[in-house]
Structures are given as C-alpha cells and as structure tokens.
C-alpha cells in the first residue's frame, strides 16, 4: 500500500543528527581534523534551510505577477554575479553576458512551461514559478560557467589557429567557431549522458523527492522527463547566447584577437 505522505517532524530531524555523530566519531578516529568544520556546517545547513523554509512559505503566499517577476529578476542577478565570481579568467562584460543568457532562457523556457505545458493558473503562481525558475537559472548558471571557462581555454590553445584564420580573411565569429563548438559540446555532453542513463543508473532528485512526498511515480516520472528536456534546452540556449556575447569581447573593432586576455593570470 502506498503511503500518502512521509512527514518528517522535528524529532525525526534530531534523530538524523545520529549521522553527524557517526561522522564525528569517524573523523576523530581517523584524526581528519574536520570536527569544527563539520559542526559549523551542520549548524549552518540547519539554520539556513530552516530560514529558507519560512521565506519560501512567505513567498508562496504572495500572489502577484510583479512580485514573481521581481523575484526571478533578483535570482538572475544573483546567478550572474555568482557566475562572474566563478570565472577564473578575465572576460570583459561577463556579468552582462550571463545576465542576458539567463534572462533569455528563463523568459522562453519558464514561459513555455508555465503557459503551455503545466497550464499554471495564474501563470505567476509561486508554487510552480519559483522551483522551476530556480532550476532553469541554476542549471543555466552551472552550464554557462563551465562553457565560459572552457571557451577561454580553447582560445588559448587555438590562438595561432585563430590568427591564421583571421589572416586568411575570416571574421572573428568564423575564426572562433570551432572553439565555440568544442566548448558547447563539452558543456552539453553531461546533459546528454544524464538523459541516456536516467532511470537506469540513478533516480533523479526531483523524482525521488516527489515520490517521497506521496506523488504517483508515473506523474513524478512525467515531471522528470519534462525537467530533463528543460535542462538540455536551457543549457543549449544559455550557452549560445552567452558565447555570442562573450566571443566578441576577445576581439577589437579591427578584428584583432586581444591576446592580452589570453595570458594566464597569476
């Protein structure tokens, strides 16, 4: 018989601290020196997530399109900042590139899901827009950060090739086309692999969470399928928008490669 809900109460959570106690025991026994870090991590995850729970509860009570759009806008700003911070290389205007890429993906993909797939009524309902918007923005952030790092690596590796193509009369876009292609391939392969093995090797987090919360596995699977398609499209779209802006930063108006940007930074 399928239970309707596995409800976790505060007492259950205290019992789960036994995991941390066991980890502490192992850390001490093996003299790993991580006791303090683990205790701080345990406390922080508890406090941060509990607060987030209350914040989300408040968010879910807000039923206004302006609130929802502002929240998504702030999420995209934070993700763009985080993406810029993660960047190991100097890429001029990278924050703007991230922002445009994430905004473009969010408008198209979130809009399609809310309006045409889930038929959410009203479309700005926080129960759908916040978690799905968060997944789109988060996935876009991870994918574009990896792609941008890889792209700079490709430019470094192909510097002579790019200058040879420029010298033969290529535009900057054509000169870096192979570098862009290689970077996007590298970013999308994990997504494709995930689509190949999903359900065979691992059960994805969203689906697991829904099943634990009592949703029919068939419905949970449908959500998961939609999410996989959404992830792939987000990654593809955000990467293409981001690279279309970023590659231009590596050239002057005179179609010269800005080689100073390709030098390794200390």
């Amino acid at each position: 018989m399928r239970p309707d809900f596995y409800v976790l109460n505060w007492n259950d959570l205290i019992v789960s601290l036994a995991f941390i106690a066991f980890s502490l025991f192992l850390i001490k026994k093996w003299k790993l020196g991580l006791e303090q870090t683990l205790l701080v991590g345990t406390l922080r995850s508890f406090v941060q997530l509990t607060l987030m729970g209350y914040v989300l509860t408040w968010f879910f009570d807000q039923q206004h399109w302006a609130f929802m759009l502002s929240l998504l806008f702030i999420m995209i700003l934070i993700a763009s900042y985080e993406g810029t911070r993660r960047q190991k290389n100097e890429i001029p205007h990278f924050f703007s590139a991230m922002f445009v890429a994430l905004l473009g993906s969010a408008i198209l993909i979130l809009g399609t899901i809310l309006l045409f797939i889930l038929d959410v009524e009203p479309w700005y309902s926080p129960y759908a827009a916040i978690p799905i918007g968060g997944m789109i923005i988060g996935n876009g952030l991870n994918s574009t950060s990896l792609t941008a790092n890889r792209f700079v690596g490709e430019l470094r590796h192909r510097e002579k090739e790019i200058e040879t193509l420029l010298a033969l009369g290529a535009t900057p876009k054509l000169a870096v086309y192979d570098a862009m292609k290689a970077s996007i391939h590298a970013a999308l392969i994990p997504n494709i692999n995930a689509m190949m093995t999903v359900g065979l090797v691992q059960l994805p987090g969203v689906m697991t969470g829904q099943i634990l919360a009592g949703i029919d596995p068939i419905i949970a699977v449908r959500y998961q399928i939609m999410i996989m398609y959404m992830w792939f499209t987000t990654a593809t779209m955000a990467n293409i928008i981001m690279l279309t802006i970023v590659y231009r930063q590596f050239f002057t108006k005179k179609m010269q490669l800005r080689r100073e940007l390709l030098r390794e930074q200390a």
């Binding site: 002579k160 033969l168 535009t171 010269q256 490669l257």
Partner: protein
C-alpha cells in the same frame, strides 16, 4: 600613382603591457620589393610585421596601404597581404581541407576545383602529394609549404614571413626561401620577412631594415649598410645559423 608606396608607416609607435615595443617608425615599402626586417629577439620585429595585415595596430601613428588607411577594409587587406607564421598552423583533416580553409567564408575558394588545388601544391613544389593525404602527417617543411599554398589561393599581392625557417635546418630553410623568391618573381609579389638571421636574408632581400630596441637603426640595401657597426648595434652578430655556401 605608379610610384606611390604600397605601405607607408608614419610615426608609428607601439606599446604593450606598459612596455614600449616600437618607437616613431617611419618607412615605406614599394611594390615588388623583398624587404628583410632584422633584429635580435625582443627588437619589435614581429610586432612590426603583424601591423602589415592589421593583426596588431599601432598605439600611435598611421599606416597606409595603397595610400588608404590600412584599416579601411580589413578583410580585403588580409586577403591581399598573406602571412606565413614561424610555426605553420595545420588544421585537422587532409590537404584539401587545409587548402580550402577559407572556403568557409569565401565562395571563390569554396568552389576551387581539384586541379586548381593541385596547381597550388605544384607552385610550392608539393605536386607529388595527394590532396587526400592527412595534413598532420606532413613534415615541418611540408607543413610550411602547405601553409604557403593555402595563402597563395587568396591571390595575395604581399607575402609576410614571420621567421618562417627558424624551426627548420639550414638546407630546408634555404629551399623554402628559394621557393619564396621564385614565387615573388613569378607572381610579382612583394615580400616582407622578419628574421634574426642576416646571412640567410642577404641572399634574397634587396633591402634591409635593422631594428634595435624598437627603433630603426639601419635602412637600405645590404651592401650599403655598414654591416658590422649596424648589425653589432642590433645584437645580430653571432645569431647566424645558416652557412654562407
């Protein structure tokens, strides 16, 4: 005007990363010349060469190509001014793929027929190699010739050489430079070569510009230059790698 210079450098200076690379460079190059730019490592000769096809721009001053500002049509300039780098870039794929690299943006090259490609290979004395041969399997000298053939398909008026033989042995260096000189005569090319090897260059170049610490310290025919004084000042003596035979 028939006597107008092909290139004119007017008070050109160049700085990079806070370092002065070239200072107040003034000279002109005329059609059909074989100009050697000589200088020790760090003299600024590669930066100067890259300015001829606008891969680098001066920080100050102006460069004219056929009396027009060099940047007025950069893609057209680069088709007219081919460059051969020190380490030739060979793309993955076969020789045909490499020769047709510019076919991605130039329809004339995309439509080049196989017999025309073979002719381009014959021009660089590689007529015996199949178009289907893997380009990465070619030797260093052959890769340099393939890069030359690829550049020639653009029908350039000017050929820039960036130490094209520094990674080759003296015999191969001579054969590449003999080929360039032959092409200069048959295709009426203007050749501008940078090198640190004055012994190799004096065989081919009608004129030499000697650079030292970013400044021109000598400009004229080899014979007219006070060889020891100018070359010594430029730190070129002792860099010879080619025999004089």
């Amino acid at each position: 005007m028939p006597n107008d210079p092909l290139f004119q450098f007017i008070d050109v200076s160049y700085e990079a990363g806070g370092n002065k690379i070239l200072s107040r460079i003034n000279f002109a190059v005329h059609k059909g010349e074989f100009l050697a730019v000589l200088g020790a490592s760090g003299a600024g000769k590669s930066s100067l060469l890259r300015m001829f096809n606008s891969l680098t721009s001066p920080s100050q001053g102006q460069i004219n190509f056929r009396t027009q500002n060099i940047d007025s049509d950069i893609q057209c300039l680069r088709k007219n001014v081919g460059i051969l780098f020190q380490n030739p870039v060979v793309f993955s794929g076969n020789i045909r793929d490499n020769l047709l690299a510019a076919g991605r943006w130039d329809n004339n090259i995309a439509q080049t027929l196989d017999h025309e490609l073979t002719h381009a290979l014959e021009q660089v004395e590689m007529g015996n190699i199949e178009l289907t041969h893997n380009a990465k399997d070619l030797s260093g000298g052959e890769q340099q010739r393939l890069a030359l053939a690829r550049t020639l398909l653009n029908h350039p008026q000017v050929l820039l050489l960036d130490e094209p033989t520094s990674n080759l042995d003296p015999k191969l260096s001579r054969s590449i430079m003999d080929l360039v000189d032959k092409l200069r005569k048959t295709l009426k090319l203007t050749v501008i070569a940078v090198s640190h090897d004055h012994l190799l260059m004096r065989r081919y170049a009608g004129r030499v510009i000697v650079l030292s610490r970013g400044e021109i310290v000598g400009d004229g025919p080899f014979k007219a230059l006070d060889r020891s004084a100018v070359f010594e000042k430029a730190g070129l003596l002792g860099n010879e790698v080619n025999d004089e035979t």
